[in-house]
Structure formats: structure tokens, C-alpha cells
Amino acid sequence: MSIQTNDLSMQTARAPSRRIRAVMRNHMSLLFAAAMLLVILMVYASLGRGVLTIEELNIDSAAALTLVLAATAQTIVMMRGGIDLSIGGIISLGTSVFATQVGDSAISVMVWSAIVLAGGALIGALNGWIMTTFRLQPFLVTLAMWSILSGVAMMVLPTDGGKVPGWWISFANEKLYGIVMPVWLIAALLLFWVWFAATRTGTTIKAVGSSAKAAYLSGVSEMRVNMVCYGLSGLFAAMAALYLTTQIGAGSPNIGSDYILASVAASVIGGVSLFGGRGHLLGTVIGAFILTIIGNLIFVLRISSYWQPVASGAILLCAVLVTSIIEKKTRASSS
């Protein structure tokens, strides 16, 4: 009947524009983060360093990778609407165990890497189990776990020390087609995400973060989701620990704490919502690079020592401020 057809035509007319809006909405934060990074790079480049060179890419990637891995862990948990402070403990313990136990042989490195990774995953899963069984806030459970793991790390290795094989340290500078391992790793990480986001597990985690109640109505098991999320988080934190040992050539029982807030910051800058359901690892990677490169920017700007903290904070703030404002406006008019 005429009504139906009229209605049809009207709706279909609206559909495409809406699809664009939907895509916009989902990846806006990510786009803005990218823009932010670009601007910073421009400023940076204009200050006489050949920025857009492979060399720079290699150096910055090597510097950023630990944070990227830690932030990956955090992103997965934040997608589900949680937070994981225990990555601090996992990183500390990971480096400590690895640096104290590992020998020079490749076998030994492989074995102990495996052990550290497995340990991280297990500890993460334990977080998930505890918070589900006792209905506790992720914040508290992971805060406690952070403290516990740091303590254990300190028992394993009271102060910075231990050693890792020389060839392991130089891993970060190994080149493949003129590009260092960290860059390839980051690429691999993004590929992983593309795959992960396309799996049922990926969708489920996003769904629970978006609306836990609806997800449970659809038969999602809270226990399973939590154990998987925090397990993965632990796994990536352990990866961060392993890579970190190539950077510091030793173990450190308290180094992990440096990455807790930074990992959250990187994710948030990259457009991951603290309330769950939204985010993409690409954004997180961009966020991590922004945080890393701001340091370089300060250096080349030759800012006097007193002003350096002010500057780093101010740059970050300006960047986020501008993008947030634009984003808010865009959202307002597109919804």
C-alpha cells in the first residue's frame, strides 16, 4: 500500500548517510588521535630533525613498544569496561623472573619467555576469577594484585639486577628490510587485533563493555568474559615485560608501576572509552606514540629544565583539549 512504499523510500534514503555517521561515530576519536599525532610530528619535523625517516620510525618504535604492549593489555580490559592496575605487577615480576632465571642459550630464553607469558596469562585469569566470584570492582582486585606481585618481584629480585643474553638485548635493533623488529611487532599486533576484533570473543568483550545486562541476557558468561579479558591483559603485560628486558638488559622489581597510568592514558587518547564498548588498538598505538614523541619534542624544543614538566603536560593537554572540543561539536551535530 501507498504508506508502506512512501515509508520505504524515506528510510532507504536515510540509510547511507547514517552508515557514514555510524562509521564516523565509531572511529572519530581514532581519527582525531591520528590527526593529533600528525600535528605533533609536523612541529617536530619543522624543528630540523628528519622525522619522517625510517631511522626515526625505528628509534621511536623501539622506544614506544613497551608502552604499546602494556596499553594493548589495558585496551582489551577497558573495552570490557574494566581497568587493570595489576599489569604494573606483572611487568615488574616478569622482568625480575626473566632476568634472574634466563641463561644465554636460545632454548633457555624460549623456555623462560614461555613461562613468563603463561604466568602473566594465569595471573590475569585469576584477577578475572576473583572479581567475578566475589563481585569486586576490577579497580580494587587489580590494585591488590599489583601490590602482591610487586612484593613477589621484590622477593625474587630485591633491587634492579640480573642479566639477559647480549643477543637478546640487541634484538630490538635487529633489522628486516631495513626496519627493526619493534616496527614489525607493532604491525603484527595490529594484524592480531584485526583478527581478534573479528572473532566471537572479540565481539563478546565489546558487547559486555557496551551493555553487560543485554550481553548476559544473550547468554554471555560473565566469568568466562572476565577470565579471558584479564587473562589476555596479563599475557600482553608479560610480553611488555619480556620486551622491556631487551631495553634495560636486566630485571627491575618496581619498573612496572611506570606503565599503569601511561597505558590507560595511551588507550584513552586513542579513543578507547573507560566505560567500555568502544575503541580500536590502532588508536591505542597512536596514543602510545604521542606520549613517547612528546618527550622528543620537548628535547628538540630545548626547553629549560624547570619548564620541561610544564611543557610536556601542556602539550599533551592542548592536543587532547583541541581534539575533544572538535569531537564534541562533531558528535553534537551528527547525532
Partner: protein
């Protein structure tokens, strides 16, 4: 010829000691014999190892003559420092030093300091009593070192018992709180070996209404003043001088000038001890222990957070300069 480009990479700005150290470095660089010969560039980073590694990488890329490092970690910077050395840059770590063999380490004598102070304590207690020890900042090598030294010496006195430890974190608040809770736990405490101010411990004793017992600490102005002004206080204060930075600059310039490098990578800076009443160490007879004296080595009109002594003997840095109050 153009001045040496020397970078000072400092991993933490958040306490009085570091601020004085930075100020002293600047003062030194602009005083004879360095005025005009040293282009000192200070790079501060916020606490984290990662940040200092990144900062050092930036510094290395700009190929300076020398890098002075107050390090976030004794080990974690080694791979980066190695890069610097390979690039032919003179690397001198100070205060929190690093273990990389290619870098020099300018520091206080962390074996002598706890030894002398523990010996003094034992002397004060007549070889008998219950004491508590400050473990400093968890995970920091120097902290472990000092505690080890304290315990090592005290173990020679069978009648002295270490009944507790706390983390003083080199800050007043934690020292006061830590001592406070140990006082609660132990009805009898005859001596307190801190790694921090010592004055916090004395305050804690007073708050708890306990008699003031012998206290070891480090020579901050506030510590010295507290020891002098508090009724019946007995203190020994070791110095970890803030002018370690000037010593590092001096060493760097010396190496750059002469082009030859000292064999010994460890350069120990021996500041004097300040004590209420004189004391001569048997373990380290060479250690000079100066008697605390108002106006001479304790300055009521200067800031409490000032670290003493303010000036190395080979150069005149006034208290005002090191306090930045001029």
C-alpha cells in the same frame, strides 16, 4: 675554542635534594674555572626509566661531549649508556650511579657512611639496646646498601638487637609515620638508624611522648637544627652532598681536557659527618666527624630542606647560592 657540550640527565625533580643538586650544577658551570668552557644542558624526565632511556637516546643523537647521569636505575640504563660510550661520549653517573663499566660513578662512600653511623650508635648505646632501622625506598640499591651496612656493623655487638624496620622513603612524612608505628609496636627502643632526615624520627618520639634517643640521619639543615634545638637529642648526620653534580662536571671537564681516562671508575666523594659531640671511628679513622654548631654547619635562617655541606672544598658555593635565595 667552543665550550664542551655537557648534558645532565636527571630522572627525578620531585625533592629538595635534586633541586639543590641541579642548582649547584648550574652555579658550578658558570663559575671559574668552568665559566664559558662548559655549555651545561639539563634534561629532566618524570621519574620513569623508560622516559630517561628515551631522553638519553635523544641526547646521544645530538652527539654531546659528555653526559652526566643521575640514574633512575643502576642497571636498566646500561644498554643505552653502552650506546653512548660506543659513540665516544664521556659518561659520568653520580648520586644514583649505574653499573655499566664504561661509565664513571661519582658517589658518596656507601660502605663508610652506614659503618660509621652504626658504630657511633653502638658507642652511644654502650653496645647494648634495641634499635630500629630505616630500609629507605623499597627496591633502591643505595637503600639496601645502607641497611646492609647498618646491620653488618651492629651484628658485631651481640647485645644490640634490631627490633624493626620501616620504609622512610627519604621523606619526612613516611619517616615520621614509620617510626611512629614502630614505637607503638615496641615499648622499648633505644636508637633509631634512619636513612632520611632523622628529624622526622625525633618528631615521632616527641609525638609519642617517648624520651629522645640517639638518631642517625643525613645532613639536611632541618636535621642539624632539630638535633641542636631538641633537648637531649644525640645525632650523627652523614652527608650525601648535593654538589656531587659539581664533582661530576669537574671530572668530565678534566677527562675532556686531558683526553685520558682514570683507571678507577668509582670516584668516592667523602663529605664530613656532623655529630652532637665529637666521635672518632675505629673502622674508618680517616672519616672526619665535625661537631654540630649553630651558624657554622647549621643555619637557622636558611631553608630546612637544604643539604649540608653546601660547597666542595675546591670551589666556593655560598649557602645562598645553593639555596637559590640570592
Amino acid at each position: 675554542e667552543d665550550p664542551y657540550v655537557i648534558y645532565l640527565s636527571n630522572n627525578f625533580v620531585g625533592n629538595d635534594w635534586r633541586q639543590q643538586m641541579l642548582r649547584v650544577a648550574e652555579v658550578t658551570a658558570n663559575k671559574e674555572p668552568f665559566a664559558g668552557r662548559v655549555d651545561l644542558r639539563i634534561e629532566n624526565v618524570e621519574g620513569t626509566v623508560q622516559a630517561q632511556i628515551n631522553s638519553l637516546n635523544n641526547i646521544i643523537r645530538s652527539k654531546p661531549n659528555a653526559i652526566l647521569v643521575d640514574a633512575a636505575s643502576a642497571e636498566a640504563l646500561n644498554p643505552t649508556i653502552q650506546k653512548a660510550c660506543d659513540a665516544g661520549i664521556v659518561v659520568i653517573s653520580f648520586d644514583q650511579t649505574i653499573s655499566a663499566p664504561c661509565a664513571y660513578a661519582v658517589e658518596s662512600d656507601w660502605n663508610r657512611i652506614p659503618n660509621v653511623m652504626a658504630e657511633w650508635m653502638a658507642d652511644q648505646l654502650g653496645g647494648k639496646g634495641k634499635v630500629i632501622i630505616d630500609s629507605g625506598l623499597a627496591g633502591v640499591p643505595i637503600s639496601a646498601n645502607i641497611e646492609k651496612g647498618y646491620r653488618g656493623v651492629l651484628s658485631n655487638y651481640p647485645d644490640i638487637e634490631v627490633v624493626g624496620t620501616y620504609n622512610g622513603d627519604y621523606a619526612l612524612g613516611p619517616e615520621q609515620a614509620g617510626v611512629g608505628s614502630l614505637l607503638a609496636a615496641h615499648p622499648q627502643i633505644d636508637g633509631i638508624l634512619t636513612q632520611g632526615y632523622g628529624s622526622g624520627a625525633i618528631k615521632a618520639l616527641q609525638d609519642a611522648g617517648r624520651p629522645v634517643v640517639p638518631v642517625t640521619g643525613f645532613s639536611y639543615n632541618v636535621s642539624a637544627l632539630t638535633c641542636l634545638e631538641t633537648e637531649g637529642a644525640k645525632c650523627i648526620l652523614a652527608s650525601n652532598p648535593a654538589y656531587l653534580s659539581s664533582e661530576a662536571i669537574r671530572l668530565a671537564v678534566q677527562i675532556l681536557d686531558s683526553g685520558e681516562r682514570p683507571e678507577e671508575r668509582h670516584i668516592l666523594v667523602n663529605g664530613p659527618f656532623l655529630a652532637t659531640g665529637g666521635f672518632t671511628s675505629k673502622l674508618h679513622p680517616e672519616a672526619d666527624v665535625v661537631e654540630l654548631e649553630n651558624g657554622k654547619n647549621a643555619f637557622p635562617d636558611l631553608a630546612p630542606g637544604l643539604t649540608l655541606p653546601v660547597s666542595p672544598d675546591w670551589m666556593e658555593i655560598t649557602p645562598a647560592e645553593s639555596a637559590g635565595t640570592n
